[in-house]
Symmetry: C2
Subunit: 398 residues, 2 copies
């Protein structure tokens, strides 16, 4: 058979490279490039553009006008065309963090075409890069035992539909018979069941913190809080329908009402410890709102509650039994108080005042909670940090 030998490996490689040259065009550039001092250079080829800018959370924030006042938004920096005709910008030395950015070419938002690491955030694509060190090491994939991350469809009798969620089972789950506590982790408005495992780096945080012995092994369930959808954009029978930020039925009580279906599914299909002492719920923004209202609606379900930059109260038009009698329900919840009721928010968050008023209410009623205030606003950086701080407090005494 010797005569048949083809240089097939080489052929495939050259073939692919050839295709690249023909189809990609332009110089091959590296972007982003992280330097030894943790400054980062961004590059883009746009020969006829009049301006190319980079915007992202690695830049100092800028104040942005909104109908609700001025709020922090990612900064924008001008890139400069170098001698090779490549637009470039080099950042200051950056502290450890997972950063997001995109380009603006003549004012039009455009992903960095040289960076294949992209995450959809709500209705747009953002590029990501990571600066090592400090708490950002929790966000890296390290050489530690890894849990399994599954996309699971559960049936909701309450809604009459099947819905998609992300389930993390810790390393070793498949290889033993033990039962685990469960943490329900909820996303914000416009997010979906992929948000916490992608921009949130939750599965990396869990792998790393469990490996270091800082966090109890646990099952983590990341649901989709938008009950008008079965799952994330592109992952349902709607096909490749563009996502929208105008979502119906996100904060009208429906998600909260259906939540026992999720808990029942998990308890029926995973080796859980199915009691209040071994269940936690937390969420960011709208997910914090959901955590607040689910935990008070079902006061015997969760012993750990986390509100990360949470919205607090339903909007005026929301009519649901879930939102009725809040005072009585909170009284009932705190009569057999959660082991941990954790409220965290950034000092520049547009929900800061709402949280302040809620804390005042809790104080006035003598309801115990732990409060954590961080710098910055309504951003993923904070939510990832809150996650690393919330997790070690769970299930320790059980």
């Amino acid at each position: 058979m010797k005569k048949l030998i083809l240089f097939i490996g080489t052929a495939l490689t050259v073939f692919t490279s050839g295709a690249q040259q023909a189809l990609w065009g332009g110089p091959q550039i590296i972007s982003p490039e992280t330097h030894s001092n943790n400054s980062v250079t961004f590059r883009m080829v746009a020969p006829n553009a009049e301006s190319v800018q980079v915007t992202g959370d690695f830049l100092p924030t800028q104040l942005m006008d909104t109908p609700y006042g001025k709020f922090d938004a990612p900064g924008i920096a001008d890139m400069v065309k170098n001698a090779d005709g490549v637009w470039e910008f080099t950042s200051a030395s950056l502290s450890p963090e997972l950063y997001s950015y995109t380009f603006l070419v003549d004012g039009v938002k455009m992903p960095d075409p040289s960076n294949v690491f992209q995450i959809r955030d709500i209705a747009s694509i953002t590029n990501v890069f990571l600066i090592d060190g400090d708490y950002a090491d929790y966000y890296k994939i390290n050489d530690v035992p890894h849990g399994t991350v599954s996309k699971v469809w559960y049936d909701s009798p309450t809604l009459g539909t099947d819905r998609r969620m992300t389930v993390y089972t810790p390393a070793g789950y498949e290889k033993n018979d033990r039962r685990y506590p469960v943490f329900y982790l909820l996303h914000g408005m416009g997010g979906d069941e992929n948000a916490w495992s992608e921009l949130g780096r939750a599965t990396q945080v869990l792998d790393n913190m469990i490996a270091r012995g800082e966090v109890e092994p646990m099952i983590v369930v990341m649901t989709n809080g938008n009950v008008a959808m079965e799952g994330a954009p592109g992952e349902t029978s709607l096909g490749f329908t563009p996502p929208t930020t105008q979502l119906p039925k996100t904060m009208d009580g429906t998600f909260e009402r259906h939540f026992p279906d999720v808990v029942n599914y998990i308890d029926s299909n995973y080796r859980t410890i199915a009691d209040k002492e071994h269940r936690a719920i937390a969420g960011l923004s709208m997910g914090g709102f959901h955590s607040l209202h689910i935990s008070k609606q079902y006061p015997d379900m969760f012993d750990y509650v986390g509100l990360f930059s949470a919205a607090i109260l339903p909007h005026d038009g929301a009519v649901s039994a879930v939102y009725d009698n809040m005072d009585e329900k909170l009284k009932r919840q705190f009569a057999d108080a959660p082991q941990l009721y954790w409220i965290a928010i950034g000092d520049k968050d547009f929900l800061y005042d709402a949280n302040k008023e809620y804390r005042k209410y809790l104080d006035e009623h003598g309801y115990k909670y732990v409060y954590r205030e961080s710098p910055d606003g309504h951003i993923w950086k904070n939510w990832r940090i809150y996650l690393t701080e919330f997790l070690p407090q769970l299930f320790k005494d059980n």
Copy 2:
């Protein structure tokens, strides 16, 4: 508590929209837009570009020069600036298919910034859209029971590393005690453990074909064939390192040698029927090469073998016991011949001649196989079709 009510839902929505207007810039456009006759309009805002083109597999192919001759490559079409300053191109009426495309702005490859549905293919990002109907309905997410798709890390004693793979368990797997056959499905050069579930739409194909009763419920295992990596780019301890097409150790016998570790892991951790009659292996291109050599190296392991546009023989420099004594090993494999040895290739594939010679060899030795020749070349369209044709032939008589 009534006085605390905030229009939080509305606030969040408006806030997000505001951020969009400030940061995105330019008009909000729809791209791609599918019309009722299945033509598709692509749009891009690039005010100062001198040319914007679209390239993709929905266009008639063009011949491309490579060191190995002329091969088909996706066509390129010029877009035209309309009265609003938006570049546009409308395709012919398209037949049902999952299509990929990108833009070329002044010759530089650029994803469509209006289409968040993007898939990384080897070292670049490609946008996708789907035209309904015919076999493309298998690629859609339909309202049928869905299997679970998991990212699982397995340990390989042979390699001394943990590695990442995708495991599909069929709908109902969690809810019963039955044991299932297993299909090992391998990607091509430059692909990874995500390739078959993303561009390959394998999990949708399985959900749909199982729901229609056309395919036996089975576990499907999609490995990573590049043993120099633990998993896909961005999913390993290398972090966000740009992927490369220059991969070492992809076709040097190492992957084949380690393969029993995969099978052992699956048989130990899933409810499998752990015998030859209930195992299948198939792959595209390099994955077809792997399927050929794994199945002959371990002749008692697989009763169903699929070579989809397969590379056949190792390149000249590949030294591995796996590639020694091919004649004897094939003789041994076909002495207890697989129930199905299925060879499929496109009539324009650059591996066509290599497959023709291999078929001649099989014919000369009286080794039975089934041959399927399709139009077109070395493209995903063919591999998805081959998958829909291969699956119904598996495990039917067991």
